[in-house]
């Protein structure tokens, strides 16, 4: 239990450090040019990460795709869930195509619509990626201010370029499938769905406030783990972002999502939150 706590503390600290770095980047950076702002030693990329549709050439995958790793599997070798609806790599990968926005916006949310699903459980979120068939039901992606699964308030997606190396906070990245929501972000939001005694939430809020104001206590981390990483070519705008995200809680607890986004960064102001 103690080692688990320590591990959690470490991951929380790592996540906190990353979030702090990104927040600092977001907060302190003056805008240097359209779509970028100085972020500590890197530049924050603000705009649209336009996605390239996924494609498969044998086992070789390009563009934007996703795999679902079975519990206790290995990220590189699997076993992966076989999506009968996907032709890529024998169903072991699912190819994604850009949605109505063309891809992922940073510094803004592309929230889940209401209703989120049709009567047969197909996801209706179509801003980032087009709903894609996964085990007979269409799934899709959204980024939400309050994470749909953990109910934790999370930052909008941010991506920082450090001389061609990207680090990203995609804690708000959520997959919706068959009337279920799964956080698939990196870092992971800390769950706010645990059992609470009546008044506990308010008491905790007061304690946190007092602790922060008078006891110099660090604010409770809302994410844990590391963010997404990738590469960026500033001259062409070509980018790659990838990360893994363990599903915590829910029917697929223990499964891991492996995400690979490829495309071109299009600088711009942060889009409006929502679709």
């Amino acid at each position: 239990m103690i080692s688990r706590f320590n591990a959690m503390s470490r991951t929380a600290a790592a996540g906190l450090a990353m979030t702090a770095a990104l927040t600092l980047a977001a907060g302190c950076g003056g805008s240097s040019s359209k779509g970028t702002s100085a972020a500590g030693s890197g530049k924050q990329l603000i705009g649209l990460f336009r996605l390239t549709p996924g494609a498969a050439h044998g086992k070789q995958l390009t563009g934007t795709w996703f795999r679902m790793l079975q519990p206790k599997g290995d990220v590189a070798t699997g076993p992966y869930m076989v999506n009968g609806d996907s032709p890529a790599d024998g169903g072991r990968a699912t190819l994604l195509t850009p949605g109505t926005s063309g891809g992922l916006r940073t510094n803004a949310y592309q929230s889940q619509p209401a209703p989120a699903f049709d009567s047969r459980g197909n996801s209706l979120a179509d801003s980032i990626t087009k709903p894609t068939k996964f085990f007979g039901v269409q799934f899709s992606i959204s980024t939400n201010e309050v994470d749909l699964q953990t109910k934790t308030k999370v930052a909008p997606p941010t991506v920082v370029d450090n001389n061609g190396r990207l680090t990203a906070n995609l804690a708000s990245w959520a997959a919706s499938w068959n009337k279920q929501n799964f956080n698939q972000g990196a870092p992971k939001p800390v769950s706010s769905t645990g059992a609470q005694a009546p008044g506990q939430q308010e008491a905790t809020r007061v304690f946190d406030w007092v602790s922060h104001k008078y006891l110099n206590g660090a604010p409770k981390p809302s994410v844990s783990g590391t963010g997404a990483t990738g590469t960026y070519n500033a001259s062409t705008g070509a980018f790659v972002l990838q990360w893994t995200s363990l599903i915590v809680d829910g029917p697929f607890a223990g499964f891991t999502g492996i995400w690979h986004l490829e495309g071109t960064f299009q600088p711009g102001s942060a889009g409006p939150s929502g679709q």
Binding site: G84, G121, G136, V137, A197, D249, G250, P251, G254
Partner: protein
């Protein structure tokens, strides 16, 4: 004698009175005030018991355990209705019929193993999956009556507050009865007795007494369901089913599927989205409540040391708390010494 002056009122003129020689009045005597004692022991016991009641639930994690139990009760609510259980029963029948349909087509078309690996696995495991699903459903269904009694307990998650408040009132009562102004003794004791009565009456007003026994039965009935192993097994079954559905909906379509077998397979594929949604939500609810279940089980094993169920004895513990507080506060009331009465 009266002397009247011109135009003025008459004036009485009397000789001066002689000095009176009165005897000294005897002193007024009153009965001596009766000595009042403030029973030390009951007041101190009330104070200590109050501290125990205030601190115990917090230190013992009673708040979180009860909240966890309440969350589990709330989250299982959608699955504990007759309609939902009938729908799950229907889902299992679709899976069973789908497996029979696949079997028939395999035999009719002389399909060799290996051509559809996902369906091969499904054929091999469908009977076991069917058994497991039915058994799971039966266990949930068998716990429904007990679940309803537990869910009917009013303010289940407020119980720790009730104990802590009664403890705080007992501490206050102990202090006043031992150290406070004597004139406040009676009203304070009355307050403590009122709170004690509320605590003792709560199990009967809230149906806690009935619900606690049902809770113990529910815990025992759901024990095979609420395990990480069960969740893992359900996830493995799910992998078999989704893989089978994937093949049925894609490559297996090329295989002729006629008659009732074809209809069974079609129903399986067509009903897969709602069926898998039912399956996923139940597995998710079981998984997300494993810790809550353990917390509730912890409550039940709290009194294992004395050989009784924690849940079943909980109402009587509340009655005991109420009775003890009331007795101690009454015993701590200031009273006259016996020999003076």
């Amino acid at each position: 004698m009266t002397r009247r002056e011109l135009g003025g009122p008459p004036t009485l003129v009397a000789p001066a009175l002689g000095a009176l020689d009165l005897p000294t009045a005897p002193p007024v005597t009153r009965a001596a005030a009766a000595a009042v004692v403030r029973p030390k022991l009951p007041a101190i016991a009330l104070l200590c018991f109050g501290i125990l009641l205030t601190v115990g639930p917090i230190v013992g994690g009673l708040f979180s355990k009860v909240a966890a139990g309440k969350q589990m009760i709330d989250q299982f609510q959608p699955y504990m209705t007759e309609d939902t259980l009938a729908r799950y029963d229907h889902d299992i029948a679709i899976l069973r019929n789908g497996a029979a349909g696949v079997d028939t087509v395999y035999k009719r078309q002389h399909l060799a193993p290996g051509r559809f690996p996902g369906l091969d696995t499904f054929r091999a495991q469908s009977a076991a999956i069917d058994n497991r699903s039915q058994s799971l459903l039966q266990q949930v269904e068998a716990s429904r009556a007990d679940y309803e009694k537990v869910a009917a307990i009013g303010g289940f998650d407020r119980i720790p507050f009730l104990i802590v408040i009664s403890g705080a009132v007992a501490v206050y009562g102990g202090c006043v009865l031992r150290f406070g102004a004597r004139r406040r003794s009676r009203s304070t004791a009355l307050l403590v007795v009122a709170v004690a009565a509320a605590v003792a009456a709560y199990p009967f007003i809230s149906h806690f007494q009935r619900g606690a026994t049902a809770g113990r039965h529910m815990l025992s009935g759901l024990s095979p369901v609420m395990t990480a192993t069960q969740v893992r097994q359900l996830q493995e079954d799910f992998i078999v089913l989704v893989t089978a559905d994937g093949e049925l909906d894609t490559t297996f379509r090329a295989v002729p599927q006629t008659g009732s077998a074809g209809r069974q397979i079609h129903t399986f594929v067509h009903e897969w989205p709602p069926l898998s949604a039912d399956f996923a939500s139940l597995v998710g609810t079981i998984n997300d409540n494993l810790d809550n279940y353990l917390a509730l089980q912890d409550l039940d094993t709290l009194t294992n040391g004395v050989g009784v169920s924690g849940l079943e004895s909980f109402p009587w513990i509340l009655v005991g708390i109420g009775a003890t507080i009331a007795t101690l506060s009454l015993a701590a009331l200031p009273r006259r010494r016996k020999e003076d009465r």
